[in-house]
Amino acid sequence: MRTWLAVAAVVGVIALAVSGPMPGLGAPAAVKIGVLMPLSGNSGAAGQASKAAIEVGAQIVNEPHAGLSSLPLGEGHGLPKLGGAKIDLIAADHQGNPSLGQSEALRLITQEHVTALIGAYQSSVTFAATTVAERNGVPWMVGDSSSSNITGRGFKWVFRTTPIGPDFAAAYSGFFKDLGAMGHPVKTVAIVNENTEYGTSVGGVIKERLTADRYDVVAQIPYAANGTDVSAQVLQLKEKNPDAVIFVSYTSDSILFMKTFKNLSYKPRVVIGDDSGFSDPSFVTTVGTLAQGAINRSAWSVGKPGSATYVINQLYKAKTGRDLDDTSGRNMQGFLVLADAINRAGSTNPEAIRAALAATNLTAKQLMMGYKGVRFDKTGQNLLAYTYVTQLSGTEWVTVWPKSAAQTKLAWPFQGWQP
């Protein structure tokens, strides 16, 4: 009666054995890099945009393009120190699930034999999946997860190029200070953050920093992400009436906030979106007309025609039909730093790559993002990570702070929608 179970077990085992994906048939010299992103589920849009950006990054390394020679490997001849080897990307979907993130990282390492990994958007997945890389001794580049816990666990194999919470908070504080100097004093601030790891930790760090810098944080309003209604948060803001509001929100909520602002006719003088939701290209296409003058942090700026960033944006646009956004850009930058380190290592030996990553010393001119450079500390965090402040004007985010990088003058105050 129970033979079936034995048979099922055998069939299952066989199915597992034959089900492994076919090994890539590319050039034997290609260096494989695993890209681990949420390609489905609630963060699917952001994950797919980041994957596309990393693919453009690989295109930049593998094929020559005019105007990119300022970047390391920008000549487009593959990895010269590895005999011109091309980079082969292998993407995997973790669906925002930490356990699946570990499974996929393990599969990429042991089945696909990737040389290094990049990912994974949600901090929770990055946190869990990097332990797999650490145990297997494979370098992992964190392009954009900002949880401070990711580095600082004593891991040898995890490096992170992106700015993190304290960097963002420093940018907002500096921005407010300069606003005061321009005759637009900001005294009271409210922080509205979604209550998963991202919003909680970034919201907390911003509050700490602004309080230390003597701004009056009149409210911190946490809320559950992907909610059906945000009127209560907006009404609370209306009641507290702060000079500036900072949102740490994912896309769906950012869209609802702007719609609700209009519905309840609420216009604070400064509206800041902490990247994420505001940087999602969908934000501008859906509620751009309601959010004119909104402020965002971003280390990405398209730049003037002919510049390397302009060329990169053209490449990305040709691939996806959209402009590059900050989140995807930070992933592309992480990838380019990783590729440069593999090239300098001169081999796919993990220890050599790790040493090369640790010795990374790139200046601002060699980067496509607006970091001050890339140099890792002992924990693997980029010491020179930095972010600009941008403002929505029409359908473009333009850099307005710091003065040295500003493309246009700040429009004051937040206009929102056309009456």
């Binding site: 009666m1 129970r2 033979t3 079936w4 179970l5 034995a6 099922a8 077990a9 055998v10 299952g12 085992v13 199915a15 597992l16 054995a17 089900s19 492994g20 994906p21 890209v35 992103m37 390609l39 489905s40 699917g44 994950g47 797919q48 292998i90 993407a91 995997a92 979907d93 669906q95 925002g96 699930n97 930490p98 356990s99 699946l100 570990q102 499974s103 996929e104 393990l106 599969r107 390492i109 042991t110 089945q111 929770s124 946190f127 869990a128 332990t131 650490e134 145990r135 816990n149 666990r153 004593g154 891991f155 209550n195 998963t196 790891e197 919003g199 909680t200 930790s201 946490p222 559950a224």
Partner: protein, 348 residues
Amino acid sequence: MTRPAGAGPASRDALAHAVGLRRSGWRWTILAAAALAAPLLLQGAFYHRVLALVVLAAISASAWNILGGYAGQISFGHAMFFGAGAYMPAFVYTHWHAAPALGLPLGVALSLAIAAVVGVPTFRLQGHYFSMATIAVAELIRILVSNWPLLGAAVGLQGPATARTVWDLTFRGSVTYYYLFLAVLAVLLGVTAWMERSRMGYYLRAIRAGERAARSLGVPARRYKLHALMLSAAFTAVAGSLYVVMIGFIDPDSGLGILISVEMVIVTALGGAGTLFGPLLGAAILIPLQQTANALFGGGGTGFTYIFYGGVIVLLCRFEPGGLLAIWHDRVAPAFRRRSASAVRHAA
């Protein structure tokens, strides 16, 4: 199944069962041997991990099956027990630097306490009302934990990155986990098989067939439902503890999210609810299906993983509503049909 839970048919069933068990002893042996040998036959760290995850899913689904399958009380809130088990090892490690293994009994105790408290109001409810109430309680707990700094709030808690002693249950490869999980599964199956043939098993099946009728025949329904819930909750908590020592990280979504509960239901339903082996079969098919579908199609980013996964489930239900077990009974093993007819009736 409208058969009254009288003593006559019951003892006849038990007799048939005992005979069946003895006769199928060699099949047990083959199954156990296959399970023990699987990691040797399937080399590779990724396969070992998938094997371990299959056994883990089989544990939580079998635990769910005690209440959902045998007693017919369909809970969509078992994540609360899974979470209780998953949070305790990380909690004792984070706050007391104690070995995560210590968290397992604490998690089971916590889970039993939750079951006792939750059972009182929810067991008044029938059918879908019970299901919805369990969702509500589980979501309530998830939201409270997401905002409770002691439990890491939204950020979650972590286990040790490298083992200090063996009691940290932190192993490099998945094979150790696989055998550990297998041992737990064997205990769980033993307990379930014993329960199946004890008075409790018959009472639960009578409750599933019709609670009012069972009660009028003198079955203390509320008490036995509570016993089933507690047994189910305890093993679900064990599954949670095993999950966290393997993954090394827990947050509200991965420990208490509604998808955790849904997966237990799906795995059990796919294999065949209310049977000893249904959850095992469901886990053995579904987990490799999930992992390979994701490995094959996930990287494309078109959502094809889920189209495939959803499509397989829909087709299965369309053509064989009784679950995989029914396919076996109806199509693959007609020779066994006569003897296994009673098992199919149980599944219905």
